[in-house]
């Protein structure tokens, strides 16, 4: 699930290569929404601290 933003942006890049600007923008927007949701889920992660 954490890879969704990357694959969404990769799909957007493929749209860029194929000349589909609108689809690329839509995929980018969806990827950013996914990124924001994942940030919400991980914002309070306990990290492996180097003390």
């Amino acid at each position: 699930m954490m890879s969704i933003p990357f694959f969404g942006i990769l799909a957007a890049f493929l749209c860029v290569f194929s000349g589909q600007r609108g689809a690329a923008l839509m995929l980018w927007a969806l990827s950013m929404v996914g990124l924001a949701v994942l940030f919400r889920l991980h914002a309070t992660d306990a990290l492996n601290l180097v003390l």
């Binding site: 990357f6 942006i9 990769l10 923008l25 990124l35 940030f39 492996n48 601290l49």
Partner: protein, 194 residues
């Protein structure tokens, strides 16, 4: 500031920006693979912010500069800056530790925040030059053929590099986290463990 920056020059500058952002992701990959620094969930999300900013630059390169493409860059960098600032705040109190290795005295999430700010400022500075938004067929002096061809080849190569890095990061994330959320404290690649 009409006329100081035309569309072909703006495309080239965006391609150079793509190269710079790609270098950031490459350095993170080198640290991950060569030094075994497994990215934490927030680190992965910061990489996704860079990938999003790359897409905006790629849109400028492929379709020509537009304010909406710069908005893609700025919004992606803003989201990435929110994530990196959250990670900085996790460690801002002295004695609360750090995550991962330091590069030239600063940790990767601090560098990420600085680079995101630079991306936002750079994009805002580029938006000052209205001349780049004049349609290229309406521009007065077209660039010479070979120079245009070389710049176009370089630009497309940078777009391909950025796309490849999005694929590499997606694949790395699947290997590390499998199909679900990443472990809060990753110690290895879930899909590569027996």
């Amino acid at each position: 500031m009409i006329g100081l920056l035309n569309a072909p020059t703006a495309r080239l500058l965006n391609a150079l920006g793509l190269l710079a952002v790609s270098l950031v992701l490459i350095v993170a990959f080198v640290d991950q693979i060569a030094f075994g620094d497994i990215p934490c969930p927030l680190c992965i999300l910061q990489r996704a912010g860079f990938a999003g900013a790359s897409l905006g630059l790629a849109l400028n390169v492929k379709f020509g500069p537009r304010p909406s493409h710069y908005a893609v860059v700025i919004l992606s960098a803003f989201l990435g800056a929110c994530i990196s600032s959250r990670q900085i705040l996790l460690h801002i109190v002295p004695g609360t530790g750090t995550y991962g290795d330091a590069l030239m005295g600063l940790h990767f999430y601090t560098w990420a925040f600085i680079v995101y700010l630079a991306i936002i400022l750079g994009s805002a500075a580029m938006l000052l030059f209205d001349g780049q938004f004049v349609r290229e067929e309406e521009a007065d002096a077209p660039a010479s053929g070979s120079a245009t061809s070389t710049a176009a080849t370089f630009s497309l190569a940078m777009v391909a590099l950025a796309a490849l890095l999005a694929l590499a990061n997606g694949t790395s994330t699947v290997l590390e986290c499998a199909g679900g959320l990443c472990p809060d404290d990753p110690t290895g690649y879930l899909l590569l463990q027996n």
